[in-house]
């Protein structure tokens, strides 16, 4: 007979009391695990969606030239006349170590063009931007267009300011450097530099401006949830020594603020659950100690030291908490698998089995159990034997 035999037999043969203790902690652990997995996945989902909402990196040529304020950043190295970035640079960017973090790569070629149309009395100079519309639309989710996005090489999208000043209307024919385009779409006002641009297909623009394979800049939307953007900037800079790679800090910070707000909310809920679970265990063990006054009196009468009594109580809680931690983990993972797809914007999120989370759950349950039981156990050990014996 050892002290642990007493704890084990108490757990085995007082099933309802043990079940009550286990269930109390199990609910807490399961809630914690569910919330942890759900919030982690929803965070990722939110982050992914936010990351695709506008660029957070800009690649521009290093050499000086005309300045352009693009996306709130003054791009001092932008040479509109001689784009020094090449089409092949896109493939190079896609080969960085953290390539999987690159969500959208949107290359652009800017050039001054002469525009002529029926509604324009004289030739005017505007800036045209050659873009890959597929990437551009994914990057600029806030764009709203009257008409449609260009699909053919002779179709153009007109910025709202350009349309207003030059009286360009939908489906009107316009001449850019003497090449005819149809204005199939007019961009609603965005409040950005896009309002003053005319957008055409990138390849068409390269051909029109006689700048085959040349680019003015590359906008990148990188997933920065689990990778520091500075690291992606560093890797890209290393691969493109002739380019200047800039992180758009303002964009990153606002996205991270949104993500961190959700994380803080989750941590707050988890903390509340943890406190509740501690109270449940404390109440349970405390009530158990009160019920066991007689038993504790017997232990004292047969010569148990205070530490022996503490050990018996804590060992019971430890075993029950460990079991609750394991069961809570599996129930939590199961619940998360049901709940996550309902909350996440990405239905394809996969929940992996995490040994770390399993250990964390068991550890947290044991720690919470022991923490909440220390006071009742000490109280039991300090019980006045006379008080215990009055009940004998």
């Amino acid at each position: 007979m050892k002290l642990y035999n007493i704890s084990i037999q108490s757990i085995r043969r007082r099933k309802s009391r043990t079940a009550f203790l286990v269930i109390g902690l199990l609910i807490a652990v399961a809630s914690f695990v569910t919330l942890y997995i759900v919030s982690d996945n929803v965070n990722k989902s939110v982050a992914e969606n936010l990351d695709e909402f506008g660029a957070n990196m800009l690649v521009t040529p290093k050499n000086d030239g005309l300045n352009l304020n693009y996306g709130g950043i003054s791009i001092t190295g932008l040479t509109i006349e001689n784009g020094s970035l090449k089409q092949s640079d896109i493939s190079i960017i896609k080969s960085i170590k953290n390539k999987d973090n690159l969500s959208i790569i949107a290359p652009k070629l800017f050039n001054r063009v002469t525009i002529k149309s029926e509604n324009v009395s004289a030739e005017k100079n505007v800036i045209a931007a050659g873009v890959n519309f597929q990437d551009e639309i994914r990057l600029k989710k806030w764009w709203k267009v009257s008409g449609k996005y260009p699909q053919e090489s002779n179709e153009a999208l007109i910025g709202s300011e350009v349309a207003k000043q030059l009286n360009v209307i939908l489906n009107q024919k316009i001449n850019l450097n003497d090449k005819e385009f149809i204005a199939v779409g007019i961009l609603d006002e965005t409040g950005s530099q896009d309002d003053g641009l005319i957008f055409t297909d990138l390849k068409t623009a390269q051909s029109l401006f006689n700048k085959r394979d040349k680019l003015s800049l590359i906008e990148i939307a990188a997933r920065c949830y689990d990778c520091p953007i500075d690291e992606i900037v560093r890797q890209t800079s290393a691969k493109l020594p002739g380019a200047k790679v800039t992180a758009i800090k303002q964009s990153i910070e606002s996205k991270m603020t949104a993500i961190h707000s959700f994380e803080h909310f989750s941590f707050g809920i988890s903390a509340v659950i943890l406190v509740i679970s501690l109270l449940i265990v404390f109440t349970n063990v405390n009530a158990s100690v009160n019920e066991r006054t007689k038993e504790i009196g017997i232990f004292m009468a047969v010569g148990f030291r205070r530490w022996h009594i503490i050990k018996i109580i804590l060992l019971e809680v430890l075993i029950a908490s460990f079991v609750a931690g394991l069961l809570g983990f599996f129930i939590g993972v199961g619940s998360a698998k049901i709940i996550t797809p309902m909350l996440s914007m990405n239905a394809n999120i996969k929940i992996d089995f995490s040994y770390t989370l399993l250990l964390m759950s068991a550890g947290m349950a044991v720690l919470a159990g022991l923490l909440a039981s220390v006071f009742p156990a000490l109280k039991a050990a300090r019980l006045d034997p006379t008080a215990a014996f009055r009940s004998l």
């Binding site: 007979m1 007082r14 017997i298 047969v302 010569g303 030291r305 205070r306 034997p385 006379t386």
Partner: protein
């Protein structure tokens, strides 16, 4: 030299504003191998005296010396060890652990020591169960036993550490007369084998088993 020496023992309890004098300045010596009955009305201080003798309740004043050890000068841990080695308790309501089997209850005091292997513990417990005629029920749960059987388990538990002193607080109080006789016969045999027994009882018929009968009234010794 006496085994037990009580010197000017007083025990007061406080219940709210009121102070109750449970034991009033008792001095008493008990020789080794004695069989003493403590008798008296309810509230006369018998059980209080017994718990003080057992090292479970410190007297308000006075000293209790057992085997030349002033027990309430010991640290709490040493006093617990003293109880385990010197004292065996038997209570009126048996006070067994309901979720342990018969043999587990008997071995309970050994859980607090490292002196015995599991095999030795089982051998010892089985020997004692044989003495109290429960050798056929070692794995029964306590609630499956009759009152008399439960009290015999309690006696076996009290004897497992081979204590010098057996303290019994109305051990037959919950038993019928036939079963009570059986229990008293066990005590008598233990006393003949050299155990010092101090027993609180209301039943004057059991005085015949004792060597010395002590009466208490209002916390004082009458004789």
């Amino acid at each position: 030299m006496s085994l037990i020496d009580l010197k000017y023992i007083t025990k007061e309890y406080k219940t709210g504003e009121e102070t109750i004098l449970a034991v009033n300045n008792i001095s008493l010596e008990i020789e080794e191998g004695n069989f003493v009955t403590l008798m008296g009305e309810s509230g006369s201080g018998k059980s209080t005296l017994l718990t003080m003798l057992g090292g479970l309740s410190k007297p308000t004043r006075g000293n209790i010396v057992i085997d030349q050890i002033d027990i309430y000068k010991l640290s709490p841990n040493t006093l617990a060890d003293f109880r385990r080695e010197y004292i065996g308790f038997v209570f009126q309501a048996f006070q067994l652990i309901s979720y342990l089997t018969v043999i587990e209850n008997v071995m309970l005091p050994l859980a607090a020591t490292n002196g015995y292997s599991k095999k030795e513990q089982l051998k010892l417990a089985n020997e004692i169960l044989e003495k109290v005629h429960l050798e056929n029920k070692p794995n029964r749960l306590i609630n499956d036993l009759s009152g008399g059987e439960q009290q015999r388990v309690a006696i076996a538990r009290a004897l497992i550490n081979d204590p010098m002193i057996l303290l019994a607080d109305e051990p037959t109080g919950n038993l019928d007369s036939k079963t009570s006789e059986g229990i008293m016969n066990i005590f008598s045999e233990l006393n003949k084998a050299g155990k010092t027994i101090i027993m609180v009882t209301h039943n004057s018929d059991f005085q015949k088993y004792a060597i010395r009968n002590i009466k208490l009234s209002d916390g004082k010794l009458l004789c």
